[in-house]
C-alpha cells in the first residue's frame, strides 16, 4: 500500500515538473518563425515529440494551405474577403505533363500549394506597398509574369489568344470594372491574365472573375455585347444572342467540332463562336468564317439566299455601313455582323425595318422598291391583334433586338416585322413567304376578311382581291388603301366605276368629320375620331340579315332602323308618332324621310320633294297646305331666322357669328311626339324636353325673363273661370298658351292679329265683364296711347303709354305692376307729386286712422284720391270718389274727404267757395292758372276753387317740408306760392287781401260781413274794383 501511495505521489509531482520545464524552453522569441514554421515548435524541434494538446509534427507545414488559412480565415483583417470567403487557384491537382513549373516556384509534394506562388519572405513591402503588390509573391506579376511562368502554352501552338493590349478607349471604365472583381490591368493598361482570372475568390470556373456561362466574364470589358451582371446580351445593338438554346443537335456538334462551346442546356454563349486562348481566326473565332462557314454551321437553313436578290454579291454598288463591298465581307456579313448589323440602317421604327429600309430607300441599293416610311405601310413592330390568326408560315418575332431568340416561339410576346411576310433568305417572288395572289397572303392573318368572298367586293368574276383596294406599302391611307380619299369607296362607286350600281348621290350622310355621337363598338372611326365611309361600312363584310338586304353594314343588325338608331339612339322614338311616315309596319321608319346616300337635302338627308331653301324647309316640306302635314301647316307665328338680341336666349344656332332660330330650335322631330293621330300639346308636340326641363315651362326655356309667369295670376292654372279653352290649357299646363299662339296668325306678341298692337284691346279681351277675367274687368283707365310729357325710361309702345307701361303681364304679384324703381309706381311718371308722400294727404300718416286703414293707405298714397282703373267716366284726374252730381266736380272733389264723415273731417273749411268773380273781370286770361271750370280744368272762364289756392301734393310751396305732423298756417297748408300777394291782392289790395286771406276760412268773419247792408257791400265792391284797377295798372306799369 505504501508503494502505491508513493507511486501516485511521484506521478503527480513528475507531471507538474515537466509542464513547468517545457514552458521555460518555449520563449516568445521563437514565435516569429514558428508562427508559420509549426514544425519548429521547441517540443517538435528539440524533443521530437508532441504534447498533451498536439501530436508531434515532423513534416514541414509552413506555407501549407492549412497553415496559410489559419490566419487568412477571417481572424485577421488583411485578406478577409479575397482569400477566405471564396475559391482559389487549384492546389492539389496533378500538374499537367506539358506544364513545366520553374524551380523558383516550389511545389508541395509535387503539387501546387500556397507556397508555389507565395512566400512570407518574398517580394513586397506590406508597410509601404499597396496590397496588390505586397502579397508576398515569389516573383513579379505586374504583367502576368508569374502566371506565364507556368502557363507558357497560352497563345502558342497555332492558337490565337486574347490580345494582351490596352483598350483603344474606355480604359477608365474597364479598369474599374475589372478591379471591382479583384482583377487588374497591366502596367500599361493592357489586358493581362489577371484581367480575366483571379487566383483568389473568383466568381467563375477557371478562376474567371465572372462566370464564363452566359459570357458574363466577356461582358466585364465588352460591355456593349454582354451585360456582365445579368449575362443578357446587350439589346438594341443587334448583338448575336447568347444564352439562347440552339436546338439542332447536328449543327451544335459541327460547332463543337470546330472548338466552339455551348453553355448549360445547349445554350449559345460567347465561347460558341469565340475561343479566348485557342482561337483559329481573326476575332478569336473558333473557325474562320470563309464562305460563311461559321454562320452556316448553325444557320444552315439560310443558305437559300445565295444567288438571290438579297445576296448582296449580286447587287450592284452595295456597300456595308463601313464601306465594304459584299465581295469583301461575304453574303451573310453584308447585312449581319455578329455584334451589330453591317447594312446601313435608315428610317424609323424597329431595327429590322430600319435594316430593310436601309436598302429599300432613295439612294439605297434596292431603290426600285422603295419603302417610303413617311407614308403608310403595313404595321410592323406591333403585336398581332387578338382576333387575328397565327400561322406558322408567317412567323412573328419579339422586338428585333431579340430577333434570333424568338423565331417561331409561341411563348413570348411576338410582333409583326418585315420578316413576317418576307423571307429575305428565300427565293419566292418579292421574297414573300406566302403567295399574295387572291389575297392568300393577307387572309393568312386577316382571317376575318375572308368573308369578302361572299360579297360583291370579293367577286372573283371581277378579279377582286385584297390588292384591288389596298396597297401594302407606300399608301396615303392609314388603312393602306390605294385611294385614300373617302376610303377609296368613290373610286368605284361613281359613274363608270365598277360600283356604279350603288352610286353615292350629291347629298349623303356626312363623312370625314368628327362626331360627338357615342358610337358603339359596332362602328369604327379613324384613330383621330374621324367618321368615314367605313365607320358604317365594313367593305369586307356580308351583312344581309332579317329585313336588312344590304351588305357591308357593320354590326349584326337585323333591320335598317336598328342600324341607324345605334348611333341616332334618341331618334328611334319617332316610331308610332305622327312623324312615323311608314306606309306599313314592315317598312323602315328612318328611310321614310331620309336617304343615306341619295337625299334631296344636304342637311338631314331628306327625301321629301320640296324646294328646300332653309333649314326650316325640312319641316315646311310637309307642314304646308299642300304637304303631308297640311293640317299642321305653319305659315306664321313665332319669329324665325336671325335673332338680334341673341344674348337673351339659349338654344339658338350660331352661324357665322349670327344667331338663328329654326324649327329645330324648339322641335326635335324624332322625339316627344304625340301618338299618331293625337293632338299635340305644349308637352309633347315633338318639343325638345331639355328646354322644358330648364324652367319647367317650355317657353321659359328661352324666355327666362318671363318665367315669373309660373307664379303670376296670368298663369292659366290660376284662372278661376274654366271655359273649354281654359280647361284644355290647364290640362296640358300650357301656361303661355292662354295669351300666345306660337303657330297662330303671327299677331303682335303672338296675340291674335285682330287686336293689332292695341294693348287695351288685347288686355280687355279677357278683362271685360264677359271675359275670362271678368272679375278684373276694366271700364276706364289711366290715359293710354299718349306720349309722356317728358322722356322717361319706362315701357312704351311706339312712344305711347299702354297697359304694359305699368303692368308686367308675366309678373308674379297681384296687379302685376312693373318695378319702376319707385316706392309708388305713380311717382315714376308723376315725380312733381312725389312730395305728397310726406304730407297729411298721405293718409297713412294720419295718427287718428286705424292701423288697417293706414296700411291700406300706405300701399299707394295716390290711391287716397285717385284710381288708375274703373273711375267714374265723368271724373277727371282718375278721381276715386263717385260724385253726387249736385255740385260741380271741381267744387266737390276736396269735400270727398274734408267733410264731417270724411277722412279729413278735422279740417273742414267753414266756407268752401269763394264768391264768383265777375265774368267781365278783365284779367281772367291773365290769371287763368288760378281759375278752374266745373270739371276742374284750368280755364280763363273758370272760378276760384280749392285748386286756385291749394296744391294738394305740396305742404309748403317751394320747400321739401313734410307737414305731416304740423298745424297749418298762412305759409303752408298746401297753399300755392304767393297766392296772397300775386293773386288775392289783385282784387283785394295788399291790405285787404291780407285780412281776407287770413280770415278766409273764418266763418265768424264772413258771417259778420254778411250783416253788411247792400250799399255797404256795393261800396266795398266798388272800392275793391278800384283797388283791383289800380293794382292791375301798377302791375302793367311795372312791365
Amino acid at each position: 500500500m505504501k508503494k502505491l501511495l508513493l507511486l501516485l505521489t511521484l506521478m503527480v509531482l513528475s507531471a507538474s515538473a515537466y509542464a513547468a520545464d517545457i514552458t521555460k524552453s518555449n520563449p516568445d522569441a521563437s514565435k516569429e518563425c514558428s508562427f508559420c514554421h509549426y514544425e519548429w515548435m521547441p517540443q517538435f524541434l528539440y524533443d521530437l515529440k508532441g504534447t498533451e494538446v498536439v501530436s508531434y509534427q515532423k513534416e514541414k507545414v509552413v506555407a501549407s494551405s492549412k497553415m496559410c488559412y489559419s490566419c487568412h480565415n477571417g481572424t485577421v483583417a488583411d485578406s478577409r474577403i479575397k482569400v477566405w470567403s471564396g475559391g482559389m487557384h487549384k492546389l492539389s491537382d496533378k500538374i499537367p505533363e506539358h506544364m513545366k513549373i520553374p524551380n523558383n516556384l516550389p511545389l508541395d509534394k509535387g503539387k501546387i500549394a500556397c507556397r508555389t506562388c507565395h512566400s512570407a519572405h518574398s517580394t513586397g513591402d506590406p508597410k509601404n506597398d499597396k496590397v496588390d503588390k505586397s502579397i508576398f509573391l515569389r516573383m513579379e506579376n505586374t504583367n502576368s509574369e508569374l502566371c506565364m511562368a507556368c502557363h507558357k502554352d497560352i497563345g502558342h501552338d497555332g492558337n490565337i489568344s486574347h490580345p494582351l493590349k490596352a483598350p483603344e478607349s474606355g480604359y477608365e471604365g474597364m479598369a474599374a470594372a475589372v478591379k471591382s472583381r479583384y482583377g487588374k490591368l497591366g502596367s500599361k493598361g493592357q489586358v493581362v491574365c489577371e484581367s480575366c482570372h483571379a487566383p483568389h475568390s473568383p466568381k467563375g470556373e477557371k478562376l474567371l472573375i465572372e462566370p464564363l456561362e452566359g459570357g458574363k466574364v466577356c461582358g466585364v470589358c465588352h460591355e456593349n455585347v454582354v451585360d456582365s451582371e445579368s449575362g443578357e446580351y446587350v439589346k438594341g445593338l443587334l448583338n448575336h444572342p447568347v444564352n439562347v438554346k440552339h436546338g439542332r443537335q447536328a449543327e451544335m456538334q459541327a460547332m463543337i467540332n470546330d472548338g466552339g462551346k455551348y453553355g448549360k442546356d445547349g445554350k449559345v454563349i460567347c465561347s460558341t463562336c469565340h475561343s479566348t486562348h485557342k482561337a483559329k481566326a481573326e476575332g478569336l473565332l473558333v473557325e474562320a468564317n470563309t464562305d460563311n462557314k461559321l454562320c452556316y454551321a448553325c444557320h444552315n437553313n439560310k443558305k437559300e439566299i445565295v444567288g438571290g436578290k438579297h445576296d448582296m454579291l449580286t447587287a450592284k454598288g452595295f456597300r456595308t455601313k463601313d464601306g465594304k463591298s459584299a465581295q469583301q465581307v461575304g453574303t451573310c456579313q453584308s447585312c449581319h455582323a455578329p455584334h451589330g448589323w453591317s447594312v446601313s440602317l435608315a428610317g424609323d421604327g424597329d431595327l429590322l425595318t430600319k435594316g430593310c429600309v436601309g436598302c429599300h430607300s432613295e439612294g439605297g441599293v434596292a431603290n426600285k422598291k422603295i419603302i417610303d416610311t413617311k407614308k403608310f405601310n403595313h404595321s410592323v413592330g406591333k403585336v398581332l391583334k387578338k382576333d387575328m390568326q397565327k400561322d406558322e408560315r408567317l412567323p412573328l418575332f419579339q422586338k428585333i433586338v431579340r430577333f434570333f431568340t424568338t423565331l417561331g416561339s409561341s411563348e413570348s410576346k411576338t410582333e409583326i416585322t418585315c420578316a413576317t411576310c418576307h423571307d429575305v433568305h428565300g427565293k419566292e417572288k418579292n421574297s414573300l413567304r406566302v403567295d399574295a395572289a387572291n389575297g392568300k397572303l393577307c387572309v393568312t392573318c386577316h382571317k376575318d376578311k375572308e368573308m369578302i368572298a361572299k360579297t360583291s367586293h370579293g367577286d372573283k368574276k371581277n378579279e377582286k382581291s385584297c390588292l384591288s383596294c389596298h396597297k401594302v406599302h407606300n399608301s396615303d391611307s392609314e388603312r393602306l388603301l390605294i385611294v385614300a380619299e373617302n376610303d377609296g369607296c368613290l373610286d368605284c362607286h361613281k359613274v363608270g366605276g365598277s360600283g356604279e350600281k350603288k352610286l353615292i348621290g350629291a347629298h349623303s350622310h356626312p363623312v370625314n368629320m368628327k362626331t360627338k355621337m357615342k358610337m358603339t363598338g359596332d362602328f369604327k372611326t379613324t384613330k383621330d375620331g374621324t367618321f368615314t365611309c367605313v365607320s358604317c361600312h365594313d367593305p369586307h363584310k356580308a351583312s344581309k340579315k332579317g329585313t336588312l338586304d344590304k351588305d357591308f353594314l357593320r354590326g349584326g343588325f337585323a333591320d335598317q332602323d336598328s342600324f341607324c338608331s345605334t348611333c341616332h339612339q334618341t331618334q328611334k322614338e319617332i316610331a308610332g308618332t305622327d312623324h312615323d311616315m311608314r306606309k306599313k309596319d314592315s317598312d323602315p321608319v328612318c328611310a321614310s324621310c331620309h336617304s343615306v346616300h341619295n337625299a334631296k337635302t344636304d342637311v338631314n338627308m331628306m327625301t321629301v320633294d320640296y324646294a328646300y331653301k332653309t333649314k326650316d324647309d325640312n319641316c315646311i316640306a310637309c307642314h304646308n297646305p299642300k304637304g303631308a302635314a297640311d293640317k299642321k301647316a305653319v305659315s306664321g307665328g313665332h319669329k324665325m331666322g336671325k335673332i338680334e338680341a341673341h344674348n337673351k336666349y339659349k338654344y339658338l344656332t350660331q352661324k357665322d357669328s349670327e344667331y338663328y332660330i329654326y324649327c329645330s330650335t324648339c322641335h326635335t322631330v324624332h322625339n316627344n311626339g304625340p301618338k299618331k293621330g293625337d293632338e299635340g300639346t305644349i308637352q309633347n308636340s315633338f318639343l325638345d324636353k331639355k328646354i322644358t326641363s330648364v324652367n319647367g315651362n317650355f317657353c321659359a326655356g328661352c324666355h327666362e325673363d318671363q318665367k315669373t309667369l309660373t307664379t303670376s295670376p296670368h298663369n292659366v292654372q290660376k284662372f278661376e273661370k274654366n271655359t273649354d279653352r281654359v280647361v284644355k290649357l290647364k290640362a296640358s299646363n300650357d301656361t303661355c298658351g292662354a295669351c300666345h299662339e306660337v303657330h297662330g296668325d303671327g299677331g303682335y306678341y303672338l296675340f291674335s292679329k285682330s287686336y293689332g298692337k292695341d294693348f287695351e284691346k288685347i288686355c280687355s279681351s279677357c278683362h271685360n265683364t264677359d271675359g275670362i277675367a271678368s272679375k278684373t274687368a276694366i271700364t276706364s283707365s289711366h290715359k293710354m296711347n299718349v306720349k309722356p310729357k317728358k322722356e322717361m325710361n319706362i315701357y312704351l309702345q311706339d312712344g305711347n303709354i299702354v297697359c304694359a307701361t305699368c303692368h308686367e303681364p308675366h309678373g308674379p304679384e297681384k296687379g302685376m305692376l312693373r318695378d319702376m324703381g319707385e316706392k309708388n309706381i305713380c311717382f315714376a311718371c308723376h315725380a312733381d307729386q312725389k312730395l305728397v308722400d310726406m304730407t297729411k294727404h298721405n293718409l297713412s300718416k294720419l295718427d287718428y286712422l286705424s292701423e288697417k286703414d293706414k296700411k291700406k293707405a300706405a300701399a299707394n298714397v295716390c290711391y287716397a284720391c285717385h284710381t288708375p282703373h274703373n273711375f267714374h267716366k265723368e271724373n277727371r284726374l282718375m278721381w276715386a270718389y263717385k260724385q253726387d252730381g249736385k255740385t260741380p266736380f271741381s267744387f266737390e272733389m276736396c269735400t270727398d274727404c274734408h267733410k264731417t264723415d270724411g277722412v279729413g273731417y278735422k279740417k273742414i273749411p267753414e266756407k268752401i267757395t269763394h264768391d264768383r268773380i265777375f265774368k267781365i273781370f278783365p284779367y281772367r286770361e291773365k290769371f287763368k292758372e288760378n281759375l278752374f271750370d266745373d270739371s276742374g280744368k284750368v280755364s280763363a272762364e273758370g272760378s276760384i276753387t280749392c285748386q286756385s289756392c291749394h296744391n294738394p301734393h305740396v305742404w309748403k310751396a317751394g320747400t321739401m317740408e313734410a307737414g305731416a305732423s304740423a298745424e297749418g298756417d298762412l305759409t303752408n297748408s298746401f297753399l300755392k306760392k304767393d297766392v296772397k300777394s300775386k293773386f288775392c291782392s289783385v282784387c283785394h289790395g295788399e291790405t285787404q287781401a291780407k285780412d281776407l286771406f287770413e280770415k278766409y276760412h273764418d266763418k265768424k268773419f264772413r258771417d259778420n260781413r254778411s250783416q253788411l247792408n247792400k250799399k255797404m257791400l256795393e261800396t266795398e265792391v266798388l272800392r275793391n274794383l278800384f283797388e283791383i284797377q289800380r293794382n292791375l295798372e301798377k302791375i302793367e306799369g311795372q312791365k
Binding site: 500500500m1 514552458t23 518555449n26 517540443q43 504534447t51 494538446v53 480565415n73 483583417a77 478577409r80 477566405w84
Partner: protein, 293 residues
C-alpha cells in the same frame, strides 16, 4: 489501518476531482458544406438545432439533427465574420460596410453600429450585456463598448501590443456569469479577460502548444458561464479552463479521443450544446457536452 483509510480517501477524492473537472463531447451531428462555402459562424439553439452562417453565399441555414430546415439568403450578408443571436435579434459583423448590424429574426437589417476614431471598424465578434454591446474591432486591435440605444461608442480599450489591455487581432468574445469579458487574440495567442469597464482582469494562456497554451486561439465559448473553451485555428484542438483560468484539459469525446478540426473559427455554446465552426473543413459540428456540472 489508518494508512488504508487514508489511501481509500485519497483515491475517492481523486475520482471526484476527475469527474468534476472532465468535460466530454458527444457528437450530435456534423454539417458538411460544399463548394466554395465559407462557414463563418453558427447559432446553436437550446434544442441543439443550429443555424450556420455562410459568408460566401451570404446565407443562414438552420439545421436540425443535421438536416436543413430553412434557409435565408441576403446579399449584404456576404463576407461577414460573425452572426450572433441575442434574444430575438441578431448581431452581424459586416466587414464589407464596416458596421455591426442589428438584424431582425428574418435577417433584415434594422439598425447599425459604427466604430470610433481612426481606422475602419472591423468587428469580428460581439456580446451584449447591460444595454451595451461589446465588440472586437479586429483590424484596430481593440474592444468597443457601444450603447445600444444611442449607438454611441462610450469606451474603447486596446491598440496593437502584447501588454495588458493591448490586443493583437482580437477575434472572438464571451462574457462569464460574473460579467467579465473574454477576448481571444488570434496572433496575440492568448485570451485576455477584462471587466465591462475595461479594467484588466487576467490573461489565460500564452504562445505554445502545450497544456493551456495556444498556437492560433480563435473561437471561444463559456460553458455554464464559467468554463472557458478555446478553439485553435491551426492545431484544430479545443482546450478548456476553469473559472480561474486554470487549464482543465483538451476536449475529447467519451471514448477519450481528442476532438480535432482542420481550422476552428468561431465556437458557440447554448446550454450544453457546443457548435464548432471549421472554416477550412467547411463544416460545423454540434456536440452535447457532459461533465463539469
Amino acid at each position: 489501518m489508518k494508512i488504508k483509510i487514508f489511501a481509500v480517501f485519497l483515491l475517492f477524492n481523486i475520482a471526484v476531482i476527475s469527474d468534476a473537472a472532465t468535460v466530454t463531447a458527444s457528437l450530435l451531428y456534423k454539417v458538411q458544406l460544399r463548394g466554395n462555402a465559407a462557414p463563418a459562424d453558427a447559432v446553436v439553439e437550446s434544442d441543439s438545432s443550429t443555424g450556420i452562417y455562410d459568408a460566401f453565399t451570404g446565407s443562414y441555414t438552420v439545421y436540425r439533427n443535421g438536416k436543413a430546415v430553412r434557409s435565408t439568403q441576403k446579399g449584404f450578408l456576404k463576407g461577414g465574420t460573425c452572426l450572433v443571436k441575442s434574444g430575438n435579434y441578431f448581431l452581424f459583423c459586416n466587414n464589407t460596410d464596416n458596421t455591426l448590424d442589428m438584424l431582425t429574426g428574418g435577417l433584415d437589417k434594422f439598425s447599425s453600429f459604427g466604430g470610433a476614431g481612426k481606422g475602419k471598424y472591423d468587428p469580428t465578434d460581439a456580446v451584449v450585456s447591460g444595454g451595451y454591446v461589446y465588440s472586437a474591432d479586429n483590424d484596430n486591435h481593440r474592444i468597443l463598448k457601444t450603447h445600444m440605444g444611442t449607438k454611441a461608442v462610450e469606451a474603447t480599450v486596446g491598440g496593437y501590443g502584447q501588454e495588458k489591455l493591448q490586443f493583437w487581432y482580437p477575434f472572438a468574445m464571451a462574457i462569464d456569469k460574473k460579467g467579465v469579458l473574454y477576448v481571444s487574440e488570434a496572433l496575440g495567442t492568448r485570451v485576455q479577460k477584462v471587466t465591462k469597464d475595461f479594467k484588466f482582469y487576467e490573461f489565460i494562456g500564452q504562445w505554445g502548444i502545450d497544456k493551456g497554451q495556444f498556437y492560433r486561439p480563435t473561437g471561444i465559448a463559456l460553458l455554464n458561464g464559467e468554463i472557458l473553451f478555446v478553439g485553435d485555428g491551426f492545431t484544430g484542438v479545443i482546450q478548456y479552463f476553469d473559472p480561474d483560468g486554470k487549464y482543465m484539459g483538451v476536449l475529447k469525446d467519451k471514448s477519450g479521443k481528442k476532438l480535432k478540426f482542420e481550422s476552428i473559427t468561431h465556437m458557440r455554446i447554448n446550454g450544453r450544446y457546443l457548435a464548432v465552426v471549421d472554416g477550412f473543413g467547411r463544416s460545423v459540428s454540434v456536440y452535447e457536452l457532459r461533465g463539469a456540472k
